[in-house]
Symmetry: C2
Subunit: 310 residues, 2 copies
DNA sequence: CTGCTGCCATGCGATTCTCGCATGGTCGGC
DNA sequence: GCCGACCATGCGAGAATCGCATGGCAGCAG
């Protein structure tokens, strides 16, 4: 007879409550799907685990809680309620309600992809505290490493990504050529870059290595960068004025002014820029992050090789 | 692989907390006195009981809680705190702090026995809410039966007590003869009732059957009740005036006026009146009741066959 | 690049727990 | 005085849990 408190089981408490409520071992057993002997022993075990003194008086007709039993009653309910709370919390987590999510994204993603995804996310999971920070891919990964972010939206332009991160492709971003409304190709829907090889270009940098044009350079396409403008709003100005054409990633193609036409560039001319959602490899990402990534892909699908404004 | 939630053990949670705090199965095992394998399996069991999703990420150097783990953390602490609360409550109960105690007592006990016991009890257990009700033995037992009282202080005068009650003798109450200060026996400390057989008596009733004198009646003691007075204060008046003598139970002998003398009556002349503490048979009495009974006996010892004022 | 080390997972046998079944004891009622 | 309701308990089967030993994996030093 080990009078020592091995460790009290929550099953004990559930049985205890049933017995207290029903006033009978037999009835509690029937309700709980046990035999009467099992209930008897469970109560015995609980009584011995709790130390001296019975929890129920065994009367000729059923049982009645002793003072100890009456004291235990609200506590047992509280414990079980907490246990129920555990399940609720975890369910809420699975259903992505509550908690926080810290997202980082590269600048272009801030044009449409991330804002739209955020909007959809907020609608579905209004309880999640969501923050978004902008930064370049390298910086974002560093913040991920230091635990400052839960999720980073990065592009493949930054070169090789260390193995420490788990990447999930969100979208293969299509590229568009932007031409003025009166351009000779303005009525086309698709072009080859070779057709624009002789046009003056506006780009983010004179050095093509640092611009979107870089992966497109080939034998038959060596663009002449006549104007330099980093911001898309400025590029639009040059293009709309008929001074130049520009290469625009689909993610930035939203809200283009009406006097500009976007032409889908043939896939072979420029590889799609991949956008990834990065988390720390080996660490289970927050459930909210999973949900955010799903929405990212959903939103991102609209930017993959399709003209936003036909 | 039973993915079903058998019932989560509190041991799970304790192990979980240790692992979360120490960041390592091995270290937690060492701290808790388990082997590493046991900890590993406990966490596995907890994870499977809680359903999909791990609680810890297994890293090359130790483990780190996942989001699920971080959510579980405060809940687990709460559950264990409640469990600790159970033990504290029960310990407090054993040490008689808190809770309530409802006592009933027959009128004479209210003269000194109960008030003194109450005072001692309040001093020792100030947290217990104590109430005292007065009533005759029969009524008190009825209220005990109906759960209106936890404890009844009753005397043996009421005849047989049903078996439904557990009686614990508190004191065998001595009887005194009260005589005026100038009485011929006033200097004695003990008397035989036969010596007072010819005196006029004052009693609570003309019918000796209903008075304290009843059990004392014998061949050589047939008292003549000259005066009837129910209250002890009135009896004192007759005695002090030298009109009569009276029989006084020790419990009522406190605070006797100075012109009256109390003489111990020989034990053979009148059987001591027993005072009992009654609880419901078969029901575990409240811990406070046990403590109260102990103090009753302590206090009552002063009224057994001893003159309170020598 | 190879062996070492630290850490978690897992197969195995022994122990303990817990269950259901059947039985015994006690009390109240017809 | 027998019967029925109810709780306690001996017994054997099955499940859970433990420790021990081993395996797998990642990082690190030589």
């Amino acid at each position: 007879m080990s009078t020592e408190a091995h460790e009290l089981s929550t099953a004990w408490l559930r049985v205890f409550l049933a017995v207290a409520r029903l006033g009978s071992f037999t009835e509690a057993a029937r309700t709980l799907g046990y035999t009467q002997s099992a209930v008897s022993r469970q109560i015995q075990a609980l009584e011995s685990a709790l130390g001296e003194g019975a929890l129920f008086d065994r009367l000729p007709r059923g049982v009645a809680p002793t003072e100890r039993g009456r004291v235990l009653l609200p506590r047992a309910e509280a414990v079980l309620a907490q246990l129920e709370g555990v399940r609720e919390d975890l369910t809420a987590l699975r259903e992505v309600s509550g908690g926080r999510l810290r997202v980082g994204a590269f600048p272009t993603a801030g044009a449409a992809l991330v804002p739209r995804t955020v909007a959809a996310f907020q609608e579905r999971h209004p309880d999640v505290e969501l923050t978004v920070a902008e930064g370049l891919t390298g910086a974002l990964l560093g913040r991920l490493d230091r635990g400052e972010l839960d999720l980073a939206v990065v592009s493949s332009t930054g070169g090789a990504v260390p193995e420490a991160y788990a990447l999930e492709k969100v979208v293969d971003e299509a590229m568009y050529a932007a031409v003025p409304a009166g351009h000779r190709l303005a009525r086309r829907r698709r072009v080859r870059l070779a057709e624009l090889a002789d046009e003056p270009w506006v780009s983010g940098s004179t050095a093509t290595e640092r611009s979107l044009l870089h992966p497109a350079v080939r034998e038959d396409f060596r663009p002449r960068v006549a104007y330099v403008a980093a911001e898309w709003i400025a590029k639009q100005g040059y293009v709309a004025a008929g001074l130049a054409v520009a290469l625009i990633p689909a993610l930035a193609a939203d809200g283009v002014r009406p006097d500009i036409r976007l032409l889908a560039v043939h896939e072979e001319d420029i590889p799609p820029r991949a956008v990834y959602a990065a988390t720390l490899r080996g660490r289970t990402p927050p459930a909210a992050a999973e949900a955010f990534i799903r929405l990212l892909r959903e939103t991102g699908a609209r930017f993959g090789r399709r003209l936003p404004r036909p």
